[in-house]
Structure formats: structure tokens, C-alpha cells
């Protein structure tokens, strides 16, 4: 049945595997996926653990509805203590790995210890074994997948692996499956590398039981039609997240040349339509009708003729606006290279942009860069820098340590040019004109982030009654809500609401493009209990889903508190407050975040969560969410 998938405890040092059932009680408290992972992290990762030591625990999971007719039920979640931030490390990827894990009989993997030599884990229909990965070392993730399939003589095997960046312990290495599905943020690939774990291969032919098959198919068909037959749906199908760039850049919401401008003029070549010259079709993750990535061939340069997939909006910033480049071919090449080496595109782009600004200011010189001229808009240098980071060469070796460690090593006041939260670099969006987005990145448990809290629909200037309809369900909210994204009123509630919304989809294993992330029309708390009922027969109310999300989110928060994070870490760098936006439409020009109002937003945000003004979770809230006795070691 959908609930009989097991949890496997895998010790790489001892070479042991233990399998257990997941108690129904855990489902009722955490659903699955990121929720149960949050529980496992809090319970299994000792306080103060070295993120790169054998005591760190790598959690891999498929959410409660993965592999079922829940639509876009493709997501694999990966969690550990982050080697980048020291806080919760968490990332989430599409593709086909998660569903295959469930067909093989597993929902959760808890991986501890460190293998003596390069190893990969082979999960095959209920069995788990350790295999030698010596021959796989140095390979890129898609090559690893191919090599494992050849070795085990099965073309349907799905592999999650790391590239050389993970092997080299670059602190923001990704885990990857297929050509571009990346668990990108917070260095989960680095944790794999530290455990000498090159890959996890999985193959399954077992059932996921569906309790009401006829009804769920009918429900799913309506569900899909409701998502794709919207303006958002059709745009995503055609352009993917690349569509965002044209809008944000023309408005002035893009971070350019690290943080020096908020619009890149004459950058039409970075807009989504350009993909048509390179693309020969689109690809979908498991059971998804939005198929938001392109299959493309690089046309020019050293990598001309290479087939790759993507890119996302993130890469238009990373290898475009942030570094002042205007070539779509460079974006496509950069996107290919980060996936090839196994790097987080967002972190790479932001760190390169930071290094460029340091070079401009004379803080680093040709001596540090191995002779590379880190000049804005130099496409070749940007691409070369990706390789330098992955291979830890020259300045790349410094950047490979992530923002805070790199700044410490470089010194000379380099830290004040960093754009990060909790030691994780910010997306190339400029949040100075948008307080809700700014608060969202500041409070994210995994550090600066747009996929854990961003009220992106705030950018649509939705009328107040529409906002109210969305944001006062399932938990009543009668505070202020404003359709002006430059306002501060009501924004803390929107951030709180989105945190719960994204936590819930991450527990279920559904893609965020199928909830209220980029489209206000998409399903959320009302629809999820209906889907869960049809698939598993478990009864939840929308309010209970919300409470589960709160419980899991609080465990992430408790983990961070245990690791020493406080209110001062829920912060933006000074530049957000001190440097007003120089560019863009009149409505966003001259904007910076107001310190006093930001502080007030943070107070309100903590109050919504039931946290005290220091950002600590008080007993009352722990009791309300049943967290008083954590860690409780039920799993």
C-alpha cells in the first residue's frame, strides 16, 4: 500500500542496513518527505556535528504522494546538516528517482557514517547493497547514471549522484538525477562526497497501492486541467521559469553586477524567447504536464554541439545579469557546466559576481585569479570560473568554501560585498523594492531562499479580496493585506503562509509549480486532503495539514536554534538597507529596505509563528505542536 514503504538505516562505516516500517503515527504527525526528514534530522544529527564528518546524517526521501496520481508527484527530498551554513541543509529535486524509490519499497533512507572507499548504494526491489564506485569517480552525474546502468545491465535504473564538485567537497555541491534534476541548495552533494558516497542507484517494480483508483483518476484529470489551462500553465509549458526574466528585468527586480544595479539594459538576448534557437523540445518530470525545461543544444563556443536541459530563471541571473553578461549561449553553457560538475547554479553565479566586484574594487587581483581578468560581461571568464570552482583552482578554491569562509580567507573588507543570508548566497532577484520577498529570504531555515518562503504572487498586484481569499485559508487571518508589493503591511503573514504551503508540498512530494508559488490559481490546502484521502484513505482536514507543516517547520527551526542560530541570523546584509535601487521603473527606483519596518516585520513574523521576540520557540508553542518531548527517537 501507499503507506507500507519502509525506512532504511544505512551505515556506510559499518556496512549495515536495517529496514523498518514507518509507524502510522509518524504519518499523522509529519506526512512524509521533508516533514519526516525534519524529524529524522533533529533526532539523528548530534548537536554540533561536523557537517563533513561521519556523524552527519544524509536523509533521502520520497514524499507521501510521490509516484501516485497526485500530478507532478516526482520530488525527492534530501536533508542533512549543511556544510555551507551549519544550519538545516535541505533540497528537493524532480525527475524520476523518488517514484522509483517507492516502487523499490522505500520512502526514507537514513545514511550515516563514511565509506572506507568510493561506494555506491544499490537499491533493488527491497534489497540494499554496497558496491564499489572506484570506476565512477571523476564522472559527471549523467555519466554515472549511464555507467551504473551498463554495470547492472538495466536501462531503467535511476541514479542520484554527485559530480567532481561533490568529490572535491565544494561546499555547495548538488545531488543530481538525470541531466538536470538537482537537489541544488545547501551542499547536499558535499555531504555525499564527505561520506565517500558517489551515487545511489534504484530500481523497483513493486506497487504503490491506490485506495480509490477510479475516483482519483477523475480527480487528477480535473486537477491537471485546472493547472495547465491557465495563463501560467501555458507559459510554463512553453518557457519554463525563464519567462520570469523579461518581466523582472524590465521592472528592475534583478540583481546586476553583484548588487550594483537592479536592471541590465539591452539584455533582450537573455529573455526566454531566445531558447527557440537552441531547443528541440521540452521535458517533464514524472507525471507532470508542465514540462518546464527545454532540451537544447549549445550552439557556440567550446561546448558547441553539447546536449543539455534547462535552464531555469536562476541561470539567466547566474551567467547573465549578475555577472553583466548578455549572451543566451553563455547562460546555456553555464547551466550545462554546473550540472556537469555538480554545482549549485545559484551559489556559483552569486559567488562569481561577488568575486568580480572584489576584482573591480582591487580587493583581489590577477595574482589571486590565476591571471583571469574578472571583468563584468566577460563570458569566457565566467565559464572558466565555474570550472575553477569545481576543480578548486586559484580563486576557485577559495570560492568553493562558500561566502562566509571565502570572505574570511580573502579579508580586506570583502565581506561587506557579500549578498547572503546565513552564509548562503541570494538568488539574483533584487528584493529591495519588495519587503515580503526580503523577509522571506531573511527567515528561511536553510538560508537565503526563494523556494521555502517566497510569496511570489505578491508581485502580481492582486486585489486585496483575492489575497484575502488565498491567505485566510485554512487558518483565519483578519490582519492587513495589501496588493502593493512595496508595502510592509501584512507581508509577515504572507511569508508565514507560504512557508506552511511549501512545507506541505515538500511533505507530499509534489512540485511547487503545482501550488500557489507562481500561480494564485493553483491548488493548496483545500485540495491536498482530498488527494491524500483518495490515494491513501487517510483523513486529514486542511487545518491539520497546516498544523503538520507548522510542526515540521518548527523542528527545522529547533535544529537551527540548537546549532546556535538566533534572531541576528534572520537578517539581510547592510546593502539592502543602505544602498537604494538605482534603476528600474519609477515604482521600484530608489527603494531600499527600511530598517525599522523590517524589524517590525520580523517581530510580527515571529508572533505569527508563536515564537518569542528573540526567535526562540517557547514551551507554549512546543506544547501546541506536540514537540515538547523532542527528540523522541520514534524513528
Amino acid at each position: 500500500m501507499a503507506l507500507n514503504k519502509k525506512i532504511a538505516y544505512i551505515d556506510l562505516s559499518e556496512k549495515t542496513v536495517k529496514m523498518e516500517n514507518i509507524p502510522l503515527e509518524m504519518r499523522k504527525k509529519y506526512l512524509g518527505g521533508r516533514g519526516i526528514d525534519a524529524y529524522l534530522l533533529y533526532n539523528h544529527c548530534p548537536k554540533g556535528a561536523d557537517p563533513l564528518g561521519p556523524e552527519n546524517v544524509l536523509l533521502v526521501s520520497a514524499g507521501l504522494l510521490v509516484g501516485t496520481p497526485a500530478s507532478a508527484s516526482a520530488r525527492t527530498h534530501v536533508m542533512a546538516k549543511s556544510p555551507l551554513t551549519g544550519a538545516v541543509g535541505s533540497s528537493n529535486m524532480g525527475g524520476f528517482f523518488g517514484p522509483e524509490m517507492r516502487w523499490a519499497g522505500f520512502d526514507h533512507l537514513v545514511i550515516k557514517g563514511k565509506a572506507e572507499k568510493p561506494t555506491y548504494i544499490w537499491i533493488n526491489d527491497g534489497k540494499i547493497e554496497f558496491r564499489d564506485a572506484s570506476e565512477l569517480m571523476g564522472l559527471a552525474p549523467p555519466q554515472v547514471e549511464q555507467a551504473v546502468r551498463e554495470e547492472l545491465a538495466d536501462d531503467e535504473i535511476k541514479v542520484m549522484s554527485i559530480g567532481i564538485a561533490g568529490e572535491n567537497l565544494v561546499r555547495f555541491a548538488i545531488v543530481e538525477t538525470g541531466l538536470k534534476n538537482a537537489g541544488g541548495r545547501s551542499g547536499m552533494g558535499t555531504v555525499m562526497g564527505s561520506k565517500n558516497l558517489k551515487a545511489i542507484a534504484v530500481r523497483g517494480t513493486g506497487d504503490i497501492e491506490i485506495k480509490h483508483p477510479e475516483e482519483v483518476l477523475e480527480y487528477d484529470l480535473n486537477f491537471i486541467n485546472g493547472i495547465v489551462n491557465t495563463k501560467f500553465g501555458r507559459i510554463m509549458q512553453k518557457w519554463g521559469t525563464m519567462f520570469i526574466y523579461g518581466v523582472t528585468n524590465s521592472t528592475g527586480l534583478v540583481r546586476v553586477r553583484n548588487f550594483q544595479a537592479n536592471q541590465l539594459p539591452a539584455s533582450e538576448d537573455l529573455e526566454c524567447e531566445n531558447i527557440e534557437d537552441y531547443s528541440f523540445g521540452t521535458e517533464g518530470c514524472f507525471s507532470c504536464s508542465l514540462h518546464c525545461r527545454h532540451k537544447y543544444i549549445i550552439k557556440e563556443g567550446e561546448y558547441a554541439g553539447t546536449y543539455a536541459q534547462g535552464p531555469e530563471y536562476t541561470s539567466q541571473g547566474a551567467f547573465g545579469a549578475e555577472v553583466g553578461c548578455r549572451s543566451f549561449n553563455t547562460v546555456l553553457t553555464g547551466n550545462h557546466l554546473v550540472n556537469y560538475y555538480g554545482l549549485d547554479t545559484l551559489e556559483v553565479g552569486s559567488l562569481i559576481a561577488w568575486a568580480f566586484e572584489l576584482y573591480e574594487k582591487g580587493i583581489i587581483t590577477d595574482k589571486d585569479t590565476g591571471g583571469l581578468k574578472l571583468e563584468w560581461g566577460n563570458d569566457d571568464v565566467v565559464l572558466k570560473m565555474i570550472e575553477k570552482i569545481a576543480k578548486r583552482e586559484d580563486i576557485g578554491d577559495t570560492l568553493a568554501e562558500g561566502p562566509l569562509r571565502a570572505a574570511k580567507k580573502i579579508g580586506k573588507g570583502s565581506e561587506k560585498y557579500l549578498i547572503h543570508v546565513k552564509g548562503m548566497s541570494n538568488l539574483h532577484s533584487d528584493e529591495r523594492p519588495t519587503p515580503s520577498l526580503a523577509l522571506g529570504i531573511a527567515t528561511g531555515t536553510r538560508g537565503s531562499d526563494h523556494l521555502r518562503s517566497r510569496p511570489a504572487i505578491d508581485l502580481y498586484h492582486l486585489p486585496e479580496p483575492v489575497l484575502r481569499k488565498i491567505y485566510s485559508y485554512p487558518v483565519p487571518y483578519d490582519g492587513p493585506l495589501t496588493s502593493d508589493y512595496r508595502d510592509y503591511k501584512g507581508k509577515p503573514w504572507q511569508v508565514f503562509w507560504q512557508e506552511m504551503c511549501y512545507m506541505a508540498v515538500d511533505c507530499l512530494g509534489i512540485c511547487k509549480y503545482h501550488t500557489k508559488f507562481l500561480s494564485p490559481n493553483n491548488p493548496a490546502f483545500k485540495e491536498w486532503p482530498e488527494l491524500i484521502k483518495l490515494i491513501t484513505d487517510l483523513d486529514f482536514t486542511p487545518e491539520e495539514i497546516w498544523e503538520i507543516a507548522e510542526r515540521a517547520y518548527n523542528l527545522e527551526k529547533l535544529f537551527n536554534i540548537r546549532e546556535g542560530f538566533t534572531r541576528k541570523d534572520d537578517a539581510l546584509v547592510d546593502r539592502y538597507f543602505d544602498e537604494p535601487t538605482p534603476d528600474g521603473l519609477a515604482l521600484v527606483r530608489g527603494k531600499s529596505i527600511d530598517r525599522k519596518k523590517f524589524k517590525k516585520m520580523l517581530d510580527e513574523y515571529y508572533a505569527h509563528h508563536g515564537w518569542d521576540e528573540k526567535g526562540v520557540v517557547p514551551d507554549k508553542t512546543l506544547e501546541r505542536l506536540g514537540l515538547k518531548s523532542e527528540p523522541s527517537n520514534a524513528l
Partner: protein, 160 residues
Amino acid sequence: MEKMIIVDSEKCTGCRMCEMVCSVKNEGVSNPARARIAVVKWEADGYYLPMVCQQCEDAPCAAACPVKAISRDTELGRTVVDYDKCIGCRLCVSVCPFGGMGYDTIGRKVIKCDLCGGDPTCVKFCDPGAIQYVDINKANMKRKRAASRNLSELMRKHAP
């Protein structure tokens, strides 16, 4: 009107929703190993093609069946398995040139597409339209038209 399933690799996004909904519809579970359709992928170059029973007129599976369990349903234009006669020898699996006949190791039976009785579930769910259920008489008209467009352009260009 007799209809057939046609697949278009250019439209297939490789999402495998067809496999999942097929297994849910026919077996009440999500399990591509028990689906009647499978998306075959050449991932290195991004080429995907859904493969399913072609409902052959002179079907090798029927010819090979030692107990005559596979017959022709002329109304829907499909080959069907009579499970009362089937002995599960899997000869049909061996001889099918398309891999259209499979064996379900959980249900212990051969499985093939039966067009869901004339309303194929996979087609309903394939939003990109890579799998379509069309009138056989018109199945090739779209390709005829596309080919004729190219041809007519050439002919007009080179007209005397």
C-alpha cells in the same frame, strides 16, 4: 468508426504519466512494471517514444498462442486476450515485435493494451498530445498534409 493509438515522439516530454495512469486504471495501483504502455527513452540525446500494442491485424501473439486465447475484436480494432483460455505460457511475449505484450509478475498474467474499451486513459492524460486516439482512416492525413506542404513548396519553386 475504427480508431487507433498513434504516438508522436516529438511531442512526448518523457513524463511517463501514461504508464502511471495505465497501471492505476487497469490494476488499481501505481506501478509502471504493470502498465500496458512504456515510454522508451534515449536519455543521452533526449529522444522519447511511448511504446504500446499496435493491435496488429495479423498478430504474431495470436498466431503463436497454442490455446487460441488471443483473438481479433473487429468492432474496436484490437486484439484481446481471453484469460479463461490463457495458460500463461508467455509465447506471445516472446514473439511480439513491439514489446506490446508484457507479463505481470504480481498479477501472474500476460498484459496488453485493450484500448480501455475504446476510451484510452493514457490519451486522456497526455496533455502534450503525444499519444492520440484517432480515426484509422484519417490517422495518416496529418502526415500527408505535412509532407505535401514541403513537396508543394518545392514544386512551386521549381514550376516552369
